[in-house]
Symmetry: none
Subunit: 283 residues, 2 copies
DNA sequence: AGAAAAATGAAAATATTTTTCATTATGAAA
DNA sequence: TTTCATAATGAAAAATATTTTCATTTTTCT
């Protein structure tokens, strides 16, 4: 885990009384960054500057400066929980949400299986038609995905209400793909539609943030995004963004995969929207 | 990902000639640890100590010492320039998109006016009803916003097709707020609806990624998000995410502002959705 | 071209780290 | 218990490193 602490413990026996105090402090503050200066640390350890230098040398560093930098390097990516409180300004909240999103992306990169995302992309690429379903905030993820896939040149549709979802599912056939989006992985109607599709030989993909959730049992391919629920509230803002970046990467992959599309992709869509614009500003 | 290099790239435009030399060195030595002293680095960059301190401060550090430690902390994570090419795997694309999103968030924080976002939140908080409109990918942003505002306890509705948008706008009255979402800021139908609303004394807010765009003229409050279009394609993925984090921060602010709501907010929504779940998994 | 503003680097001022060295503690042998 | 050799320690000096200041240069705008 932390090489420096390990080494300190290893060499603990060789140290003098005062040097041990330095080691003790370090060992009992594994997460902390070293206080700015050697003098500060000396005071905290009830020791002296020279002792700290000796301690650093014992661990194999050229001096305190090097030890300090090395400690920073060993630091586990400290998870700064962007806890929002009632006195934050709207702008401060924006900053915290951006932070939160960034952490959520990092978690997603760790959680998602690279081979599954590739498999999902290839499945969609080869499908006759792709239908995406979700409810609540997952509905807008599904809608966003359908919108992008369509623009990328693939037949994709999304449905946000349960009736349409069932109707659309019942009209699908083999060779189609159903993508179910659900953070909880437990929305009754979505799981039901997935089960129905699967029983009829339709390929199923789920995008969910909950491991071992019901929807996973009904899915051929599972895309597991950031599973860490933020403590803020049920809005679950960042995990929502994580699901979108997964969609975005599928979409990019599809664009680049489709030789025919790639060239014209940009211009074609630009032109098809042009008449909807007040002027030539680009979307 | 190396946040420091990304930040250096982000702020590159603001730098003077000499500061850019420091940034260049850093960017072209992504893996390296910083040479021991500021003087050494000054020589390597053909710059001066003071310039390096200024550079460090620009990136948000207290000085060179802090930058040096932070660089050590970032080490080991390699920089991926978010340029997607055809040989990338789906997973690599995911990483690049996350990077891109992060940059986009940073740009948004710089572009958006803190006082405007606060004003927008307060306007919505005091409104009788809020209507959100957008087309294409902006439609799903609007839908997402309406969904969240509603859950936060405010009357909010979104419409994704132009007919409904016009009907809804014509039924609004003073005391209501119309929020127009458009990346280009030039979608005919949206601008038209905004103009109509404004002429009837309805407050208007726009969320756009294009400065000096037509929609801004029809808006009482302008929320300008990331204006830098990514070069990838017209999908404009990251700017889409930026608009969402702006929505999210408005939403959080509204939740915390509303004394009455805050307490029950989480539980209430949890419960109202419970019957829709297969089991007790939390959304 | 000329004035105002911004950027820059040399050098002074601080701050930090390292070294030196006198003092104190430790422990083995008498 | 005392003595002496050795190791450990910390105060202060010396060496380095960083930050600030400010005069000079460069850029920008008129």
């Amino acid at each position: 885990m932390n090489k420096i602490i390990l080494k300190a413990q290893l060499l603990y026996g060789d140290m003098g009384k005062s040097e041990k105090k330095v080691a003790d402090w370090l060992i009992s503050h594994p997460g902390d960054n070293l206080p700015m200066s050697i003098s500060e640390l000396a005071e905290l350890c009830e020791s002296s500057e020279s002792t700290i230098v000796r301690f650093a040398r014992r661990l194999g560093f050229s001096g305190y400066a090097e030890l300090k930098i090395s400690v920073a390097g060993e630091q586990e990516k400290k998870v700064v929980l962007p806890t929002i409180d009632e006195n934050d300004s709207c702008f401060e909240i924006l900053g915290k949400i951006c932070n939160d999103a960034y952490l959520s992306f990092e978690r997603t990169k760790r959680t998602i299986a690279p081979e599954n995302i590739a498999a999902a992309a290839n499945l969609i690429a080869g499908a006759r038609k792709t239908v995406l379903i979700g409810l609540g905030s997952s509905a807008s993820v599904a809608q966003d995905a359908a919108n992008k896939f369509l623009r990328a040149g693939y037949e994709a549709y999304s449905y946000g209400d349960t009736h349409m979802q069932m109707i659309a599912t019942s009209r699908m056939k083999e060779g189609d793909v159903l993508v179910g989006v659900s953070q909880s992985g437990a929305s009754k109607d979505i799981v039901e539609a997935m089960r129905f599709a699967k029983s009829r030989g339709i390929s199923t993909i789920c995008i969910t943030g909950t491991d071992r959730s019901p929807i996973m049992k009904q899915s051929d391919i599972v895309l597991l995004t950031d599973t860490e629920e933020t403590k803020h509230s049920s809005l679950a803002l960042s995990s929502h963004l994580s699901r979108l970046v997964v969609i975005d990467s599928l979409c990019y992959y599809l664009v680049y995969r489709n030789e025919a599309n790639r060239g014209d992709f940009e211009n074609e869509n630009q032109n098809s929207l042009k008449s909807k614009r007040v002027n030539d500003a680009n979307e």
